[in-house]
Symmetry: C2
Subunit: 329 residues, 2 copies
Amino acid sequence: MKKICTIGGGTGNFVALRGLKHYDVDLSAIVSMADDGGSTGILRDDLGVLPAGDARQCIVALSNSSRLMRSLMNYRFENGNLRGHSFGNLFLSALEKVTGSFEKAIEEVSRILSIKGKVIPVTTQQVRLKMVLKNRTMLEGEKEIYLSEEIDQGYESLYLEPYPKANHQAIAEIMNADAIVMGPGGLYTSIISNLLVEGIPEALRETKATIIFVVNLMNRKGQTTGFKVSDYIQEITRFIGEDIFDYILVNDQKPPRELIDKYSSEGDLVENDMLEERVVLASLLGPLENKSSADLMNRSLIRHDSQKLAQELMRIITNVDKNCSLALL
Amino acid sequence: MKKICTIGGGTGNFVALRGLKHYDVDLSAIVSMADDGGSTGILRDDLGVLPAGDARQCIVALSNSSRLMRSLMNYRFENGNLRGHSFGNLFLSALEKVTGSFEKAIEEVSRILSIKGKVIPVTTQQVRLKMVLKNRTMLEGEKEIYLSEEIDQGYESLYLEPYPKANHQAIAEIMNADAIVMGPGGLYTSIISNLLVEGIPEALRETKATIIFVVNLMNRKGQTTGFKVSDYIQEITRFIGEDIFDYILVNDQKPPRELIDKYSSEGDLVENDMLEERVVLASLLGPLENKSSADLMNRSLIRHDSQKLAQELMRIITNVDKNCSLALL
């Protein structure tokens, strides 16, 4: 059975995992620990726990339990002091308090939610994502960085404080994987936030796994404005120290004009400017209707389709020997 | 297998259930829905959910799951906006929101906690316990009644508002039980609060079950000051309309003098003034050390021992035919 390891955080990771879950593979999801917005941020500040939101999304994506339990995990209280808190975050945070360990908390919730695979925090240290812009502005925290519209003006540095050591299990998963899937997801907040952990870039450079990057569908205004596929690869490569990608999966299905227009205040479509063989083009767009389905899916109107994405990833992973190109298939 | 049904709420119920769980019996716990204090009260007010606290305690008492899961259910958040909320209450309340039904919420949590038996809310209507004192003071809510020190001055009326119909399942359990165990517990707030539900007194009068009342160890100052065993029976009989008790289980083990003195600001020992054959005397006191064990047990220093209580109850239930007295055994 192929061992597949995803690296990310947030909604993008959710989409990939939800699709991959249906294949006969050994899955592990390494998640960013930089989240500090919303319910997760309040719990971090009030209780001193590690950020639960990204782990919760992965657990729900991999869960084989009833729809009820999955809805419960994503349920947000609507009134009073609890308003805005996701039940799943409270679940993980209370378990972290009771067990004294965020990893044990994840294990226990994973068991209750009957998940396929494992969810692994990239580090178990309490960290803050920070960015210093070219204009010397300091952005503190993932939320502030995610909401900034100035990053495309240039930044001096991006780092986690304190500089954390990787979770040993995360390193082991990277080293033992047959395939690693990075992305889609917020470039700085969900992808690179994993690469700022001591030991992760080294492991990624050393692993024998086939490494696939899934490029975002859309750029985010003020963050990656005007980015083309090569810009994503270059930016990530700066943090890994080497271009490690065996395959780069790019959507080539155009969304309808009116949707692009509607989305234009948030960002523009990512164009492909790479003609190398490792770039795999595929039709990956999700259905454009039912915008109001799962609460996790609401953030973006233009999104990957779990099934199509997983199918394409599996085609790459199962058919390709690292030494021959996809063109030979 | 004997069908045993407990009626109560709060800590007293917890003690009885925790002991009975270890016997080969079919258990159901009917719980009061009048709680409106603490975490439960806030959730009722903020979210409009039914009171979770008593049901949670019963679920934990009957749980066969890991110590970790039981600790989690009783875990109280210590900081921020969540401070004081019990995780188990949040679990039940979030599930009630997601499923739209408190009973379904109990079922789901019961499944996750692998409970032995069933926990059944006495009513599924949203109610408030109210008491009008002789001096015309109106006490609103279980918490206010529980904290009042004027009840022993006399009260005019005690009722639930609105007057609720019983949960059909509660009636069925009472009618089908081989034995019913009422108490120990707060007389007005945990015992009688169940008897104010339409259909419950009738069912208790009609059932063929052996009915056992477990008398509290201590009176509560200002509530049942100076009550003797017969006062408890009389007071409860007023609300049922008939003295239904086949057995009255009374502790006859004296706590150490210094503990009684220590407790004297809260209340006095309940004395037995009934010499009838149905009154069963037994040594039922819990260990007097480790005051700080389970969070549920902390409320009272002088308390029933789960094992002794269950053993005595089982002796009555398994050996006694309703038509012959215990003396014949």
